[in-house]
Amino acid sequence: MTRASRFEDHLTDWLEEGPTDAPDRVLETIQAALPSIPQRRVAWRVPWRFFPMNGFARWVAGAAAVIIAVGGLALLNQSPSASVGRPPTSPPPSVAPPSASSAAIDTTGWNSFTSIRHGETLRYPRGWTAAPASEPWPAGVDPTDSMQDIFSLPTNGDQVFSAVSQRLPSGETGLEWLTNYELQGATYHASVKQCWPAPADMEHTTVAGSPAWVHGGCGFIEAITVVGGRTYVMQLWNSYDRPLFDAFLSTMTFTPARADDTPVTHLSPSPSPRPS
């Protein structure tokens, strides 16, 4: 045995010494604190999964898109325009909870919000707070909180509505984008891939007059629509409150021409303190 290996063996033995069981108070503190700590919403729970696709996955995605298209679901398969497609000719199967009438929730009196980054307007309930996106959502990355317009109820941090958008990549249709988007979710969450169904298995609806896909049932509800060459993704996290989600959607309008995709320039490594 070399001197070096003797030393490392000695080091390993020394590291073995010391306590191995946590005092009971550690777990007790954790259990006591747990109910008051909300889980992070949004970018983490992530149906967001824009990781580079390997060749096979890309081929599968392309094949799936072709099959769906040939199967007659040519929804939103037009070049970017104010509205990206036609309503489906027959209602597809839905994995989302049955849609309740948004009339169940009265949205009059809700606060108005206009997104500078994403070019959408909506209303959100009184008592909720709005955190506007401060930077665009570029293609190929997971959106962070700062890329999304986020609405939350301070007294219930678990329930969050978010909206985010990005320009469709050149030459890509809305259906192709959505197919890739869901396929990547199903790939990365293989054990719960039903949470990211193919577009053909989603509920179809309209948001602000544009065709949209809706799915949910895995801790979130998600709606996707494509308007004017931009894809918009709206989510309600940690909630199956479909009437609330529909109420949010019913207040939305899209003005993609007003979206601002200008990247944020960080002039200094840390923000200067705000003068008091």
Partner: protein
């Protein structure tokens, strides 16, 4: 219930499922934190912070099978945070015992452990982490790199220099103090 199922449930907001995960992993988290921090109370804090952080960020875990490695990473980062709270990491006084040494074997063993303790405390938190992951948990370099989110080359060099620095510190401790050094 399988751990993967618990992770899945917890990631969807099931606190009961997460409480079971916490109970199953709290000892491992504490033991890892203690070996990096060398302080019981700080290790308790780090373990708590890591596990509560795991609850908060669990929805970001893409692969439930990676839960243990992911949790280890949170523990290591909690240890980094604990170390930043205490800038006195390297200010450890070298104590020289004046007690007579009765049993040479026992005494040399104790002395060797003390030397390791002192040398280890001189390492940076980042160096301590790779030493513990490799020499205590038996992680190969690739697993260390994946756990800490660093390149394999960085893990290798960090481990190499940590062990070398540890040996150097121990040898320096063992070296007789000259009158010149004593008066410096």
């Amino acid at each position: 219930m399988q751990q993967g199922d618990l992770v899945e449930r917890a990631s969807r907001g099931d606190r009961e499922a997460f409480a079971q995960l916490a109970a199953a992993h709290v000892d491992r988290c504490f033991a890892l934190a203690y070996r990096i921090l060398r302080d019981t109370h700080r290790a308790e804090d780090a373990a708590q912070q890591a596990i509560l952080g795991a609850w908060r960020d669990l929805p970001s875990l893409r692969d439930p099978e990676r839960f243990e490695a992911w949790l280890s990473r949170l523990v290591v980062h909690a240890c980094y945070a604990e170390s930043r709270r205490d800038r006195r990491w390297t200010a450890h006084v070298r104590l020289i015992s004046t007690e007579p040494q009765v049993d040479p074997d026992t005494a040399s063993s104790v002395a060797a452990r003390d030397e390791l303790e002192r040398g280890f405390r001189r390492l940076s938190p980042e160096q301590r982490a790779v030493v513990v992951l490799h020499h205590h948990l038996g992680y190969p370099l690739t697993e260390i790199a994946a756990t800490l989110g660093i390149p394999v080359g960085t893990a290798r060099s960090r481990l190499h220099y940590a062990v070398r620095q540890l040996r150097a510190a121990i040898e320096a401790d063992a070296r007789p103090v000259t009158s010149k050094e004593r008066t410096a």
